[in-house]
Symmetry: C2
Subunit: 379 residues, 2 copies
């Protein structure tokens, strides 16, 4: 029952990239890390065994909005927390639900108190507040709990972005108050990560970083990016935030992104990533591989009997051929979704693992440049 | 490259049940056996690794109609046969496609030559004949090839059933002629199993058994049952056919059935079974377990944190709870389909494996009676 700790092991001389170790009561996470998204308590189309053995995931996400509605907080509590409910024994991070309330829920209304919304499933009415979102995440049993925030859309006016950031900051103080008043629910340490907002405005981002840093949390997150802004702007703002967040704490860039986004943001000093892209795009037949990007539905793969990707250590990627996977997609077989999801996630974990190796070896920057060119090309 | 052989190991004193061993060039099959259905080259929602390690499948099915249309015979040939295409290293049996032409295809027309039909996928026109269906199955690379037949619907008039059976018999002779004129395609033995038809008429069934037996095949199948007739009639006709087919060859009852159907038909002397029920019903949330039948969507399972089934040796069934599986179904998560499919298939393989043990131990009949009562009950 020790709070999360972060050990910086290596920093790159030619970039801001770092290799480190996050220690939690559910095990160690080697950074930089990618966290597969298990929105409703399951990483879509992937078993927990495959997550562990093939993908080699070290931590997964859950989502407060989704889990609160289904199966409900009460059922997860009755199970003894999400780890016991879904059988994932390693660390879990839960997103606070703020983003989902504004992207999924109906008739949402923002007040100082919190966010009123109607469920996208049955229209039932709910209120999320800084306080109850802490309680729900305690009950879900996340190792890492995210603060309740508002994520302004892109583009946002300065006035709106500022107002929204200030609300997020007031909520953040309430989050920490509630978090500190309540206890770890299941006998292992739970940690609260605050989230930097401020839209695309540098002064707001700096102000938000300062406020977030003042909370002296065990880790810090950057939100509100990769929401439609140009890629260069995303990189600039990520760099700015990374520089203005504590050096000796893990930095988590929420919801980013493509494999090349991740490489770039690692070089800017980011340690943790999550994104639905590997699973969502996988289910649409888009594969990320060590040789480049594949649209597996394309006719050119119909008689390509080479394995999906021999460049990574994943049984599924090394076993099935491109031709077979294409057939499964064309014939609408569920197995196609499974194979593509496993492969893409294994690729993402391979990518951050290789980045880590090269940070430690000291040749991260040149490796990043050459790797980006290869993996970005369309095959 | 030795033709399939069947070794009878044990016959039950109190029923017609038998335990045996089928030896093929892709390995040994212990009977009685259940064969998971991999219609389009994939057992739906199940990986080949799970089929082998968790379900412990010894042989799977493919379907000529489906595989001929997608990925096409040419692509399977280019891969070097279905085993290489889909990565399943153990025996494969292919259904001839006759049944699918009449249940799925459009504008089908039966002639002496064969069956003209339009693809259910793109409306393209095709002709299946006794001869080309042998060639296609040779190219798919099945270890066991099924004869091309017509499966009359239930109920059928006597005159129609007789005419249909006689056509099936003429096709059967043509199947054997073509089969014997052609060679094993990929260096391992391929075997042709004829199919008994005759609808619900005892004299036709006997006549068909005699005709089928005269072909002296390495194994024989019973078709046209479990197509809507009463259960008692299915058992009577199965018993009649089993008695009238060679004792020293495996008997395959096509498309049957529920777990209790399988127990009953084992006692009538059937050695091989296939059915889409475990996967199809699994995808609809119906689970067969060693304690009884479960509708996993039912609210009663919402907080039942016991594992799906501790009565069988299957990692998936022993790992996930009923409450978690219910949640996955309610939330429409693909993982629910995967878990239910793996579990149901593992249960079917457990059932025939237990039957085999009890046939060898000599207490099959009492075991069957008590087991049937338990597994049939609704939980």
């Amino acid at each position: 029952m020790a709070a999360l700790t972060f050990q910086l092991e290596h920093t790159d001389n030619n970039s801001k990239a770092r290799a480190g170790t996050i220690t939690t009561d559910h095990g160690v996470i080697e950074t930089p890390i990618f966290m597969p998204v298990g929105t409703i308590g399951s990483v879509k189309a992937v078993t927990q065994q495959q997550l562990k053995d093939e993908i080699k995931a070290q931590i997964i996400l859950g989502n407060t909005y989704h889990l609160y509605l289904r199966p409900t907080t009460a059922i997860i509590e009755a199970a003894g927390g999400l780890h016991k409910f879904n059988g994932w024994p390693k660390p879990i991070l839960t997103d606070s639900g703020g983003y989902q309330v504004f992207s999924l829920a109906e008739n949402r209304k923002l007040t100082e108190e919190g966010a009123l919304f109607q469920s996208h499933i049955d229209g039932s009415r709910h209120l999320f507040t800084a306080e109850n979102v802490m309680d729900i995440q305690r009950s879900i049993g996340a190792d890492i709990i995210m603060a309740f925030d508002e994520c302004p859309p892109y583009p946002s006016e300065y006035a709106y972005a500022k107002k929204s950031m200030e609300l997020t900051h007031r909520w953040l103080t309430r989050c920490f108050t509630r978090f500190n008043e309540t206890e770890d629910k299941y006998g292992y340490s739970q940690n609260l990560f605050p989230i930097v907002q401020g839209s695309t405005f540098e002064d707001l981002r700096k102000e938000s970083c300062a406020f977030v840093s003042s909370k002296e949390a065990t880790g810090n997150a950057i939100g509100g990016l990769s929401v439609g802004e140009p890629e260069a702007m995303m990189y600039d703002l990520t760099a700015l935030c990374a520089e203005n967040l504590p050096y000796n704490k893990p930095r988590y860039l929420m919801g980013v992104g493509t494999p090349w986004n991740i490489l770039e943001c690692i070089s800017l000093g980011i340690d943790m990533f999550d994104c639905v892209m590997p699973t969502r795009n996988g289910r649409n037949g888009m594969l990320f591989t060590t040789k480049g990007v594949i649209n597996i539905r394309n006719k050119k793969w119909a008689t390509d009997f080479s394995v999906i990707d021999d460049g990574i250590d994943c049984e599924t990627s090394n076993y099935y051929s491109k031709a077979y996977l294409r057939h499964l997609f064309v014939a609408d077989e569920i197995l196609g979704l499974q194979i593509a999801s496993i492969h893409n996630l294994a690729f993402y974990l391979w990518l951050v693992g290789e980045a880590r190796k090269h940070i430690i070896a000291g040749d991260f920057k040149s490796w990043k440049t050459s790797t980006r060119e290869i993996i970005k090309q369309r095959l």
